[in-house]
Amino acid sequence: MHISEGVLSAPVLVTGAALAAAGISIGLKKMGYEKIPQVAVLSSAFFVASLIHVPIGPSSVHLVLNGINGLLLGWLCFPSILVALALQAILFQFGGITVLGINTVNMALPGVICYYLFSKLVNRDGGLLSLVAAFACGFLSVCFSGILVAISLVFTEQSFMSVAKLIILAHLPVMIIEGIITLFCVAFLKRVKPEVLGGIYGKGA
């Protein structure tokens, strides 16, 4: 889901950085100082979990988990994802300084959208509906991310169109897996510790 350094054009990079700055500042406003350890530990958990490779046929994909990150953190998923991406850039050189903004937006914005779309539904007592919402949350968050990546590429250079289409198509299985994982993960949290889903992180300072 990362876009490497050097691929995108200056206008796209600047737009991405500006949008990220806006999202991050909303997130930071909602994150009081006393919440920093909580958000940080959860961010580390997402960082670690996103290194998990799940098999799909002969190949494997790594988890994205921006949907469930959004569900748990709301707007705070902007700073959370920013920090995770910065660490990936420093430690593994995935992504980099100039694409940090656009990559953050591509991952975190779908998270926030899914938070608004599904948080209430997921937290409802009703069994089936909340599970469907959880699946949709995982599926759509990756889907939106794929679309945003595609848009970033196409706005850079028209000839990226076919690459962009292929990227969205290639993410289809990832979307399904993320949907399933998010569904079971939400079911797990609801049984084991519903407070985590209750959005105490997301609900602002």
């Binding site: 079911a187 797990f188 049984r191 084991v192 510790k193």
Partner: protein, 243 residues
């Protein structure tokens, strides 16, 4: 199974996490069927590491591993072996990841290819054997420390292993739970290796105690009985003198 056959055979195993310190240094060790062995050693001497080497979770930098009379080198070899050797982790919290006890105990049998019905049957039976009937629907994460330890044991026994490796099974348990686990372990008819800092526990549950130090294992076979006087406060609270 033929008795006294060689189950675990480690030859000249060396291992290190980082270049600057050798954790296992040309270590050799053998476990025969029916052996009940204790393992002691200071913190950081590599006891847990040794278990992970035996299970193929870590690979030695040199040396040979033979398990059940077959060389074990690759992940594939270890996969077979893990069905027969049950490992209990130092921290029971690391072992239980399913929402409920039943799901967790059934996880192993399901991986061995059992049908869900069979797996549930095996799980319930194992729980009953450990006096844990009625725990099926408890949330694993909410169990107390001692309960977690017992359920972890159930998850391992549900796979019907031939050998049991346990990493500090009595750590952090109160006396009553410790006694319960000691009794259960004494009653199990399996080959086993127990790591513990608790000599008295090992004395009750094992036949031989090895010590680990400087990356090697050594055996102290001699019995050194020595009387001494034990005087202490607090004698009215229920307590037990180990050994």
């Amino acid at each position: 199974m033929e008795s006294n056959s060689l189950i675990i055979n480690l030859k000249n195993i060396s291992f290190s996490y980082s270049a600057d310190k050798l954790i296992l240094d040309h270590l050799s060790f053998q476990l025969h069927s029916g052996d009940r062995v204790g393992l002691v050693g200071p913190n950081g001497s590599g006891k847990t590491t040794l278990f992970h080497i035996i299970m193929g979770l870590l690979r030695p930098s040199s040396g040979k591993i033979e398990l059940f009379d077959k060389p074990a080198n690759e992940e594939k070899d270890f996969r077979e072996v893990r069905k027969k050797i049950g490992l209990l982790f130092q921290d029971a919290d690391d072992q239980l990841f399913s929402p409920t006890v039943l799901e967790d105990v059934a996880f192993g049998p399901l991986n061995l290819g059992k049908s869900p019905e069979e797996a549930i049957g095996i799980a319930l039976e194992t729980l009953a054997r450990l006096d844990l009937s009625g725990f099926e629907n408890r949330i694993t994460y909410k169990l107390s420390g001692g309960e977690k330890r017992l359920v972890s044991l159930a998850t391992v026994l549900a796979m019907d292993p031939e050998v049991l490796l346990m990493d500090e099974p009595t750590n952090g348990l109160d006396d009553e739970t410790e006694e319960k686990i000691t009794d259960i372990l004494k009653g199990l008819n399996l080959s086993c290796i127990f790591i513990s800092h608790n000599l008295d526990f090992l004395f009750k549950t094992t036949d031989r105690i090895y010590a680990m130090a400087n990356g090697k294992i050594s055996l102290d076979e001699e019995l050194v009985p020595h009387p001494h006087i034990h005087v202490h406060k607090f004698g009215r609270l229920p307590h037990e003198h180990k050994s």
